[in-house]
């Protein structure tokens, strides 16, 4: 077979590699520039009085972080102090995480280990719920909240939101925890049963320690999901002192005329801290969960 000369083949190979690099640039690098700019801006803006070219900080200052020790003022409007709002957000996140973990570790175990009629059906039901977009239910949930007498009741409204949010998260959390239970070999449980433990004791002293990583993942995940919850609070909470951080930030963005980018950036960064921490610590597990269970 006639062959092209070596040099010609080498040139062609180089050209092909160049085309590949061009594709990488075009598809993955250039469209990523806005992302880099936005995050770059968020960080540098929060620490500087003025930013040059959008992302280069100048005049380093902590002034933007003054909301940590003094009341927030933007334009004419004075906002509630940051700490009670943070506590509200924390309450919501911890409440959701606690409730979700308690409920879903019980049900995840039952689905993984117990044999009962309708088990497959229930699993399919859970998957279906998990796929179903829950935001559609906001209106009916509003009616239910009213019916339960939890609307417009300040702190009790937040409690109601915790219940609803946890309820919405539970199908997925159950599924994840079931996965962790599935990964535990049966022999272990049998061995313990043979040794004369009751099923309850088996659960507490043998299985639970082994699923702790799963429980950890689910707690982090539901904590973050409660921490970032926006719509429920935005829609159901009318009194400012029971806002959570995202809702307060939303209303501050609304002050178009008097917008204080520096303080908003700092506040945004402050709010993102738990997300950043949890993600850098446990990104592998969280990613796995994100792949399986995303509502977007």
């Amino acid at each position: 077979m006639a062959r092209e000369s070596l040099r010609k083949r080498k040139t062609k190979a180089l050209l092909r590699r160049a085309a590949v690099v061009a594709v990488i640039l075009l598809v993955a690098v250039i469209p990523a520039i806005p992302i880099w700019m936005m995050y770059g801006w968020l960080v540098s803006q929060s620490f500087s009085g003025r930013v040059i070219l959008g992302i280069l900080p100048s005049k380093l200052t902590l002034d933007n972080w003054r909301f940590l020790w003094s009341p927030i003022k933007m334009g004419e409007k004075e906002y509630p102090n940051i700490w009670p709002i943070t506590m509200n957000t924390l309450f919501l996140a911890l409440g959701v995480a606690g409730l979700v973990v308690m409920v879903s570790s019980l049900s995840g175990y039952a689905l993984s280990r117990m044999d009962f009629k309708g088990r497959t059906g229930m699993m399919q039901f859970i998957i279906a719920l998990h796929a179903f977009p829950s935001v559609i239910l906001l209106i009916a949930l509003f009616v239910i909240l009213n019916k339960l007498g939890l609307y417009g009741k300040g702190f009790m409204t937040l409690v109601g939101i915790v219940l609803i949010k946890a309820g919405l998260e539970i199908p997925m959390a159950t599924w994840i925890i079931k996965g962790f239970f599935d990964a535990i070999p049966w022999d272990l449980e049998w061995a313990a049963l043979v040794d004369g433990c009751s099923r309850w004791r088996v659960w507490r002293s043998v299985i639970l320690p082994l699923v702790l990583p799963g429980i950890g993942a689910v707690s982090i995940f539901s904590f973050l999901s409660g921490w970032s919850e926006f719509l429920l609070v935005f829609t159901y909470v009318a009194q400012e002192e029971y806002y959570t951080l995202p809702v307060m930030i939303y209303h501050m963005i609304g002050e178009f005329i008097h917008i204080d980018w520096g303080m908003l950036a700092a506040l945004g960064l402050f709010y993102a801290i738990p997300t950043i921490i949890f993600f850098s610590v446990s990104q592998k597990v969280l990613l796995r969960i994100y792949v399986g269970g995303v509502k977007g």
Binding site: I24, V27, A28, P31, A32, I35, M37, M38, Y39, W41, L42, G54, V103, S104, S107, A110, L111, M114, F116, A128, L129, F132, P133, S134, V135, I136, L137, I139, L141, F142, V143, I144, N146, K147, L163, A166, G167, L168, I170, P171, T174, R199, F230, L231, P246, I249, Y250, I253, G254, G268, Y271, A272, T275, L287, Y290, V291, G292, V294, K295, G296
Partner: protein, 324 residues
């Protein structure tokens, strides 16, 4: 005997809390949505309804559906158009662009550090809390402070093409809506696809290279056919969630006046689900809003049943598995 009853009750005991929560957060609102869709519930009879579900102040009616299907509500048509635009374009970003992105990141990029940096970058939109993501976009598109116009100018886009406001000028606002949701969608697609690409046995790719394939041919003839199920999964999943998602639109455009009503309509970004939301929480027409939602619920349920048929149980749970 007592033992066997205990054995039968035990699963129920374990499952009871979950079932209770599901009943509260899923089943009852679902049923209620169906019911409300056929009522004229609004601010006028709302309190009476909350006191007594069967009050005669709330009447059962088909009016809501007549308004929707006979276009008696002049905005339904426009909302539908925006929704189709929104779902179709964001979906193509989700499924197709994200595929190209993932191949570029997980296969073309041989340098591991660069590959990792790109992956983390493209992950950010998805994991950032929504309101911060919205805040960054609002800054980015700001004609005075933001960088978008600056960047486009640098790339050679003439000044006359750039809008004075990305939020309000119409084709631009819709482009913005697609971009904001598209980045998040690309992020989701990328997570699924890169995991799937990483699970393709390296020998398969090497075999194709030895057989004489270029990098592009490997992508087209080996990687993409093997990602058939993940692609279908992303498309299916995102169709469902896009149909009902409006959170980012609400965060960016709702900011203005009134609870969530904002400037979405004049900006041409009022999607179906957001329309339902504003009907309920800005105009307090709960019955009509529920009817609008009910249509989404019906589509959602139909799609879920369809997906179960197409994918089967297993594939629905392991989207990133490549079948070799």
């Amino acid at each position: 005997m007592a033992r066997s009853i205990g054995r039968r009750l035990l699963p129920l005991l374990f499952l009871a809390p979950m079932l209770l929560m599901i009943a509260l957060a899923w089943v009852s609102p679902l049923v209620l949505t169906v019911y409300l869709g056929f009522t004229d519930l609004s601010i006028k009879n709302f309190l009476a309804f909350v006191k007594d579900f069967f009050t005669d102040k709330v009447s059962i009616t088909l009016d809501n559906f007549r308004r929707i299907f006979y276009a008696e509500d002049p905005y339904v048509g426009e909302t539908l158009r925006v929704t189709v635009l929104y779902v179709v374009s964001v979906l193509s970003i989700n499924a197709i662009y994200a595929l190209a992105l993932s191949i570029a990141i997980a296969y073309f990029t041989k340098n591991e550090l660069l590959s990792m940096i790109l992956r983390v970058t493209w992950l950010l939109p998805r994991i950032t809390p929504g309101i911060i993501y919205a805040l960054m976009w609002i800054w980015f598109i700001d004609p005075k402070y933001g960088l978008l116009n600056e960047m486009l100018r640098l790339m050679g886009v003439p000044d006359s093409w750039l809008p004075d406001s990305w939020l309000l000028r119409k084709p631009y606002s819709q482009m913005l809506m697609i971009m904001i949701n598209g980045y998040v969608g690309a992020s989701f697609g990328m997570i699924v696809y890169t995991a799937a690409i990483k699970s393709i046995p390296p020998d398969l790719v090497n075999a194709a290279l030895v057989d004489g394939a270029s990098e592009f041919q490997v992508a087209r003839r080996i990687i993409i056919p093997l990602l058939k199920w993940p692609i279908l999964f992303v498309t299916a999943w995102q169709t469902l969630s896009l149909l009902s998602s409006y959170e980012y639109i609400l965060m960016v455009w709702g900011a203005g006046s009134g609870q969530g009503y904002g400037i979405a309509r004049s900006a041409g970004v009022m999607v179906w689900s957001l329309y339902s939301y504003t009907k309920a929480f800005a105009e307090h027409l709960y019955g009509y809003a529920s009817a609008l939602s009910l249509i989404l619920v019906a589509i959602g349920l139909a799609l879920i049943i369809l997906y179960f048929k197409i994918f089967g149980f297993r594939r629905l749970m392991e989207p990133s598995r490549v079948e070799v």
